[in-house]
Subunit: 674 residues, 2 copies
Amino acid sequence: MANAVRVLAMDAIEKAKSGHPGMPMGMADIAVALWSAHLKHSPADPTWFDRDRFVLSNGHGSMLLYALLHLSGYDLSIDDIQNFRQLHSKTPGHPEVGVTPGVETTTGPLGQGLANAVGMALAEKLLAGEFNRPGHTIVDHFTWVFAGDGCLMEGISHEACALAGVHRLSKLVVLYDDNGISIDGNVQGWYRDDVPARFQSYGWNVIDAVDGHDAWAVGEAIAQARDWGSNGRELGDGERRFAPTIIICKTVIGKGSPNRAGTAKAHGEALGADEIAATRRELGWSEPPFVIPADLYAAWDATQVGAERHARWQDAFAAYAAAYPEEAAELERRMRGVLPADWEDIMDNLVMDTVMEAQTVATRKASQLALNYLGPALPELIGGSADLTGSNLTVWKGVENLRPSPDSASDLNGGRHINYGVREFGMAALMNGLALHGGFIPYGGTFLVFSDYARNALRVAALSKLRVIHVFTHDSIGLGEDGPTHQPVETAASLRLIPNMDVWRPADSVETAIAWQAAIENEEKPTCLLLSRQNLPFIEREVVDVDLIRRGAYAVHAPRGAKAVIIATGSEVSLALAAAAQLAEEKIRVRVVSMPSTTTFDQQDVAYKRRLLPDDLPRIAVEAGVTDFWWKYRPEAVVGIDRFGESAPASVLNQHFGMTADNVADTVRQVLGL
Amino acid sequence: MANAVRVLAMDAIEKAKSGHPGMPMGMADIAVALWSAHLKHSPADPTWFDRDRFVLSNGHGSMLLYALLHLSGYDLSIDDIQNFRQLHSKTPGHPEVGVTPGVETTTGPLGQGLANAVGMALAEKLLAGEFNRPGHTIVDHFTWVFAGDGCLMEGISHEACALAGVHRLSKLVVLYDDNGISIDGNVQGWYRDDVPARFQSYGWNVIDAVDGHDAWAVGEAIAQARDWGSNGRELGDGERRFAPTIIICKTVIGKGSPNRAGTAKAHGEALGADEIAATRRELGWSEPPFVIPADLYAAWDATQVGAERHARWQDAFAAYAAAYPEEAAELERRMRGVLPADWEDIMDNLVMDTVMEAQTVATRKASQLALNYLGPALPELIGGSADLTGSNLTVWKGVENLRPSPDSASDLNGGRHINYGVREFGMAALMNGLALHGGFIPYGGTFLVFSDYARNALRVAALSKLRVIHVFTHDSIGLGEDGPTHQPVETAASLRLIPNMDVWRPADSVETAIAWQAAIENEEKPTCLLLSRQNLPFIEREVVDVDLIRRGAYAVHAPRGAKAVIIATGSEVSLALAAAAQLAEEKIRVRVVSMPSTTTFDQQDVAYKRRLLPDDLPRIAVEAGVTDFWWKYRPEAVVGIDRFGESAPASVLNQHFGMTADNVADTVRQVLGL
């Protein structure tokens, strides 16, 4: 069975002349142990929600996963395998969620799959705690991870695994491909961690020194991990410990290839015709490329057993639904990712109250005020902060912080706010895992400048079309004294460059509420909310037209006979309005456009864009950040900051960097030749 | 002595109404132990190269460092202390290298200072191995780090500390402020690492459970660490182990403040007048704000002893210089960061040979060809790769990989290429440390898309004006089959947004050589070299004018009577030239501008810019990435890719995404209304 995986991998890679045979060939036996006996899944329905989650964190070994999905009976044909790494195939170079049935997450950027898995296991534990009832265990699945040396060297593995230990995610099991080889060769020259000691320091269970080519031994270890995962591990004193488990499997990279096994050369290139022939001989495999004997297909096929398990679970769920109809309906809603029936009312209330209160607050505070409505109304919202809760204001009134208790696989305190610790990248990738699992809309906070730490996880979220929400506060030099290390002059612009990323930088409490609405309704994209540390004046509007604000840009001041348009975002909208007032005294009328979301505005129809920014009116853009970004809107001038900030009180900095109404007004006069 | 630090910190923070008193008050006793007895430094000459390096990785505790510098006799007056966090003061919110004498690195973004320190300690070990001679130990200093829970939670601490263990950096000593409190409160809810076990897993020495308020106990631990650092640690079997040391100091955050000590509230806000008064009583401190008794100044003053040590070292260096004049001169050159006298010849040779060879190669290969000249000629160049050596092509002919040997504090194999492992962020911050220490120009490689992982360290390098060079290969969809997780469509643009970051995306071997020249000559900024995986045609030029290419943009094709200008970078320059040739057949003449470095071009005088991009010629920009960035050059159209890539062979992707000469030519025709 393992050799079927090996030859599919090497043959597909050979045909593509591109790919990574070393890992699939090295982990094939481990895959047999997990997939043929332990993995709970139904190839006929890859969306069955109580399936085990399988994460290939070392995603370059994608052919391992494609081979497993094909052999197990997923909708992935041998033609698909033959189209490995071809345009629009179901078998891209690295696994991409949404492209291939059975692929749970997009991997390749190392370490992130492992962190996604921590999020998935946490989701399972949370849902089990919330929805299971005595006699009705309807949420009960494992999260399995394949990870290699690369994943464990990456810093994100430290963040994610430490947090998995804290939350005692006992149904998370990592199978570590300890082959001693990374791309540069034998890892001893750069990687000498005592991995068992490291994971014990996180409070994990460690099963060490398993022969990764002995599927029986691996299966025993998996059975042990499953038992510990569900029942806890007996400690000497009669206590039971619930903890994640890592199984350290000693393997040979490229196993089966007589001349490349055990070397870095096996890692990332096709073996070539000669070596493939030699490997076939070594494995005693006589079939031509892409032909698998029927008995091996039969041995691998999991459709029948999977369908039976799925059916049994459906029966159990039916019984649960009979006993607990409300909970069952709610769980189904959550897993489908549908918002509650009263969602529009919730938002109407929030916006109406926000308009009525007309508060001058920091937009981070406005965000918290919005959360006071959203948190209680949306049980799927799960918040958090990377150790900046009091600064990011990610807690709503009455929410509890999530805390594990040690004595069962699903016992948590029901908290819906996660103290992620100082772990921005881990948080972001974990949030991706929560979203991928389903049942949750995760949001998490840090300072905007530290979105850098998490940036690649934001990118993967955008690529994977995940509904995750980043609360990035302290969004400009307006944060003041903390200085240039903390002042994100280039960060807003750089986030807007990520495809499929929605970015909002609201100007006041109303825009903040609507940004939250957009974020929650963005079913297929992540959202970044860029929020001020400092108070921002409430914008007086004649009418609050939510639909207009939802378009990402709208006029907040539109006098007749305007001679120019000022475009501004966030904290600079009030500057623009003040500049317009100043100019009005000189009979110079200017329109002020608030553009909280360039990414949303860019999606609008041409007619709206032209109406808002007429071709015959010169434009001036204002934002307390780098100017490069703004030229896409063809302004005559941009008022911004093309250098790092300084440490000083915010009011001093605004003067110093020309973030003043005077300077904006002057710029308008210059543009108009006045 | 510790209380002098405490009151200076709390009073300066109170005056600024901003800052972080908890850490300075908590670590004051540790600071006494280190700074009053062990730290080797000379306040009168903070640039003395054999000084110990001190890194405040938990940089929010900046007032600790400012107080220490002031009290020890550095050029940092009590007025400077009173100007804490004010515009252009020498005491910004977080420590900034270059702003304050005695500040070794810019910290605040957590974890990075620790990684910088690993780089500094590695620099010391390398230089000691290279320059010390029997009887002449002229390079011999420690690197001391203060780090908190936040630093140790961050993933980068895993990457950096694992690598420090591999390289046996025994003269690196971390003093861990184990106060059990982070911003969100008692860390037990999110941080339960067994820190001793963790660091032992990296091969470090651990001194656990030191009372961080007992300066004598801390001093004993430091003495132990110094002994192990210089002489190795006796193991039972008569072996000696050389390893970094972490001293785990149990402390109380905000120590001395009766109502805030031991709480998160002590961390990040001024204590307020009442609590300051109470703290003064608690500490028995009767002096008014910013007054330190003369006897305490005298006790802290390190100028005399520092000057004596410095003088002794100068004598030793003079003896070394007498015995080894060439080595002494070379070490001085290296430490001053001055290039060798024959630098111009080296570059002339490189460029001339590159022009003569006229090779069609990938620019990553062209980079390696350049390194074959630069590596042997510049002993200060120290390369590396985050486990992608064979892909980044960061090794030159004959270079050895760096390997430690276990039996001394300075024994290394002389290798000048570092296998960083899969640790992009750690690599980048470690490179910053190598540059900060002096004696080295570090470069390091990974795939361009994974610059995301390291992004904040690039930002800090730019802010800190460090000469570090990033070799980012696989720079666009041209990498092909690895697919969208690996295709950096938005990354080039986003790197260009970082202030003081130089970015080059060369089009052929000649531009690559000149990009390297620029990078090495960029004394006060980091450089990113964005290099192709795939071959790029050699550009035929009538003359190779190095000075023009150094301007960041120049005409590669400039027919008379041109009707438009195509601006292109990297792999798209050859497309632009092909489009121009196609259009020439239709008698449409277009100029082609190669713009390998927008960041460099932006620095040119207006006359050059106008000459190259005349106002009366419409412009078309072409780059295989997001288009937003290019509008700053006011083109009529941009040919680019505003979505994620796909997995397929590069030639298929170029067609799919319109990265073709035909599409460029069509766009020109459209712009010209033809």
